[in-house]
Symmetry: C2
Subunit: 248 residues, 2 copies
């Protein structure tokens, strides 16, 4: 029992640049082993992981993500919601049920919990990590590239590697704005709290080690809404294509 892990978790920062040192196969196997031992809904393990080792495929995924660093060093994993395997093993009548909203959320939960557990394992060994929501900038293309069958869906990417940059932890919003008791109740002073937090964010971006700029939480929100890659608007269509959320 130690507080080391919590100390590290409180200093978490994403690492986007890694050295050329590759992550050993035995370590990849251990990380997958950790992912597998994450809590899983109904013990059904409704996710899979795809390791990307082909550099041409990886360059195509980097192009989808719009991030050059995705093509570079470190080991790239794609976490996949997987009800396809269950469909192969279960009896026929359950097939349609496996595309339900319920089963989609269970698979998303299994896959995302496993991804974070993998992050914690990697960081406990001094490795750096970055989770990639950007793999969904063109979900249909990614699905085609990875030959993902019906009842599977790529939910998040993860690069793990040996850090080649120093970054600083970003300050989080006040707990009062996101932790409530017995119901959803933003405090009366919520808008003022968030204005004060804007100043904390402004200070962080103005004084950080690299890429200094003027920034605020409300601007981040607006930017996220107005600069979202066009094909992210096809996510529901991509889910339907994979057989999810089509009924109820």
């Amino acid at each position: 029992m130690s507080e080391d892990e919590i100390t590290r978790q409180l200093q978490h920062k994403s690492i986007r640049h890694f050295t050329k040192q590759s992550v050993a196969d035995a370590l990849i196997k251990t990380l997958i082993d950790v992912a597998q031992h994450t809590a899983t809904s109904h013990y059904l393990q409704s996710f899979s992981v795809i390791s990307i080792t082909d550099s041409r495929l990886r360059a195509q995924i980097a192009q989808i993500s719009g991030q050059q660093y995705v093509a570079e060093n470190g080991h790239l994993f794609i976490f996949v919601i997987d009800q396809h395997r269950a469909a192969l093993l279960a009896k026929q009548p359950q097939l349609q049920e496996l595309g339900s909203t319920d089963k989609f959320l269970q698979g998303a939960s299994d896959a995302l919990l496993a991804a974070q557990n993998t992050v914690n394992a990697a960081e406990s060994l001094g490795l750096g990590t970055v989770l990639l929501g950007s793999i969904l900038n063109d979900a249909k293309r990614l699905i085609a590239l990875l030959h993902l069958p019906t009842l599977t869906f790529p939910i998040i990417g993860l690069i793990v590697g040996y850090p080649d940059q120093k970054t600083q932890a970003k300050p989080r919003m006040p707990q009062a704005a996101m932790h409530f008791t017995n119901g959803y109740n933003l405090p009366a002073q919520f808008q003022q709290d968030m204005q004060a937090y804007d100043e904390v964010i402004a200070h962080y971006y103005a004084t950080r080690l690299t890429n200094q700029r003027a920034e605020s939480f409300s601007h981040l929100l607006t930017r996220s809404a107005t600069t979202s890659p066009k094909k992210r608007s096809e996510l529901l269509s991509a889910l339907h294509q994979q057989g999810f959320l089509t009924t109820k």
Copy 2:
């Protein structure tokens, strides 16, 4: 740097029974702090956490989950996808966008990654945890009980506390059945691998410390599909009610 965390992660098991010792407020605050420092899409922190301290409310949530232990000891958190806070802070035109599939998945990702990070923090201190997908057995009722506004959705529950039971880690499926390279490719011997895994599961259930029974992976799949609580079929409707996935 130590392997302690990975050793612990590989032995992970859910704990459902806790002693009466309450989790100190300072520790709850630390756990929320860890949740907040989880990687978050676009730095937008699109989730909230609700602590349930009212015993009557907790009994109602236990009733939804169908699990008596949910009403008992340990500290109960509900992790909530939250685009409502963003809607209050962003300019009007972004409001509709915040209910998109994209924003729903980003919020689900933020909330679920944070939940697992909280699990890892708690377990590093020797606490036990259980994640609760069962809070979604009647999502609309839970939403009403927690006064969850539009653009929020409860995605998972978590109980953290001092363990009052011993359990064994459940054996996971062979890695070959869930870890692929450069694309989705189940191995040729997949069905045989899973039959062998059925024997591993059968042995686990036949010899574990409590609740011994005959079991197999295919039976777990069938049971999950055929005994799903009725109102889980209302999850898509509940998401729509909260303003999610209504457009694209």
